[in-house]
Symmetry: C2
């Protein structure tokens, strides 16, 4: 067993978009195992937009990564040492193990995976936090009804593709938004969206709105919010009375920093939004999926059989090498990934 491990540490906090200088690849000693600790050799780690928030020193729903600390993230791998009766060497497990080659955590923080049931990477995407986010937010706050219209952006990502596919099972008219023709084709052909709008084809929110209006002739009943920015501006005027907006993220504003103060726009859009919420009697709900793990087994019971039966599709974008994680993450914030972004450690 190797005595050292690699990890990516937060070197300094980014201002705006993160760059190479914000990350540092380090070789450190593998920590000694305490009682109940399990050491996992990571095979795959997840890259997700929420990690941008952890790089800021701002009050949020979770603590920031400290300077010099390991970048946070979910990962899957194989147990190579265990002080717990619950995990044997060779077991596969998922945990918040960080951007690293190895992770050492108490057994209670790990979830065992059966690689014969599903590929272990699915625990990072379609059957993991992102898929669960899409499923929970849609069911709980979207309250989908047959015949309604739903719009979701980042449609080929692991959240958007889950939202769209679950919405289709509820009989909704589902319109995706994605960056580029290739992603739009994937949304329609693989994920079964009725339409997908290429946001790169529209210079401003006004022209995007006009295009969306054609694809949503009955207006929009659910906007599943994960991007904000221009998309939100385009969608707002099309929302129907009684519409719902579950908010799980706002990736287009993340690089604007903790307060979103520089997120653009010369006029004050809040009054317009506030008025829409009132006159359209909308329901806007922020949620953080980590509050809802008690519903995770419901999610698995619902989605895993559909996945096995081929009724739910997924797409992974796998980058090889821990050292390439920072660059892949920077690309994720710009939408360069094509499906759920995963780093294969070696």
């Amino acid at each position: 067993m190797s005595e050292t491990m690699q990890r990516v540490a937060l070197a300094e906090r980014p201002i705006g978009a993160p760059g190479d200088h914000n990350f540092r690849l380090e070789t450190i000693e593998i920590p000694a195992l305490c009682d109940d600790d399990v050491l996992v050799e990571i095979e795959y780690m997840s890259l997700d937009p929420y990690m941008r928030g952890r790089m800021d020193d701002a009050k949020s729903y979770a603590s920031p990564v400290p300077i010099g600390g390991t970048m946070e993230g979910g990962a899957v791998g194989r147990v190579i040492a265990s002080n717990s009766s619950k995990f044997a060497i060779g077991d596969f497990a998922f945990g918040q193990l960080g951007w690293a080659s190895h992770g050492c955590v108490p057994a209670r923080e790990l979830r065992k995976l059966d690689p014969d049931l599903m590929p272990i990477t699915t625990a990072l995407g379609v059957l993991g936090m992102p898929g669960f986010t899409g499923w929970y937010g849609l069911k709980e706050h979207g309250r989908p009804k047959n015949g309604e219209t739903l719009v979701v952006a980042a449609a080929t990502g692991p959240v958007g593709s889950m939202v769209g596919q679950i919405a289709k099972t509820h009989g909704l008219h589902v319109v995706g938004i994605a960056g580029g023709i290739k992603k739009c084709a994937l949304a329609v052909e693989k994920f079964g969206f009725d339409h997908c709008l290429d946001h790169k084809a529209y210079e401003d929110s006004r022209s995007m709105k006009t295009a969306l209006q054609e694809l949503c002739p009955n207006g929009i009943d659910i906007y599943f919010e994960n991007v904000a920015g221009k998309t939100l501006d385009a969608i707002l005027p099309l929302m129907n009375t009684g519409a719902r907006i579950p908010i799980c993220g706002m990736i287009s504003w993340y690089n604007a920093g903790a307060l979103g103060a520089n997120a653009g726009g010369e006029t004050d859009k809040l009054p317009k939004m506030w008025r829409s919420i009132l006159v359209k009697k909308m329901s806007v709900n922020g949620f953080i999926i980590s509050d809802h793990w008690d519903r995770y087994s419901d999610f698995l019971s619902d989605v895993a059989p559909m996945l096995s039966a081929g009724q739910i599709a997924y797409k992974e974008d796998i980058v090889v090498g821990l050292k390439n994680a920072p660059k892949a993450f920077m690309g994720l914030l710009e939408g360069h990934n094509f499906g759920k972004l995963i780093v294969k450690i070696k």
Copy 2:
């Protein structure tokens, strides 16, 4: 019986704050009664902030008043002619009779009042649409819990004073906001608010926030939104995780016109609000009370006994003369009223 009646018509649509030229006092013939129609001689009419919205030619939850049409509004009075078996001459009734001396509507649009039970003016305020708005919005969307903190502005108005008093019955720490020392004293002494902040004492939202923070040492769990503007800015940073914002109005922005486009602010506040909704997992719900008349009897069952028992207080501000309605309404939008604003027709 007089053959003519007076009414206030919308002369032209206002740009910004309405002025005298937007209204026209007219004498017209009393319309002939159709089958089932009832003619009411109005004694009191209601003035409410929502009427500002009806003056704009904008898509909203209700149609605008047409140019030359009678200004809309609830009113109470005595039946002086009836083609309906349900109303006899001398009965008291409430209906959307408009800014006028008489109203002629089908019997189904009227609600009979018993003047021996409650003064008929209460049907315009504490037991009418405004009181019902406060009660419903707080119960349904505020979801008050013992020990939580609630803030409501326009605290001595008929909505705010209901919200505060009902919140106290649920064991909340209740902080009002009102304009001026006199109103603040009323909020605390008559309506039982724990504190009331005089917003006129604060130049900007930052200093208001600091003052509110002292009055809300445990943060804010429910902000009942009826004013927006500077108050919203001050409150947002103090909202707790899991907070609720029922929105029934935004009076400080009404004069900015239909789209709120000129509502002030040089930076874009929407990203900040959107982020707060997400990271604080807030629930923001717009509602229009006219959708919920099916709950009105629940409201009366709950509140009327408390009113009779003196456990719920109310304050009316009565202006005399239909011709004074426009000026009183302009004052309402500036907060010049002191309690529920009512016009005694003559």
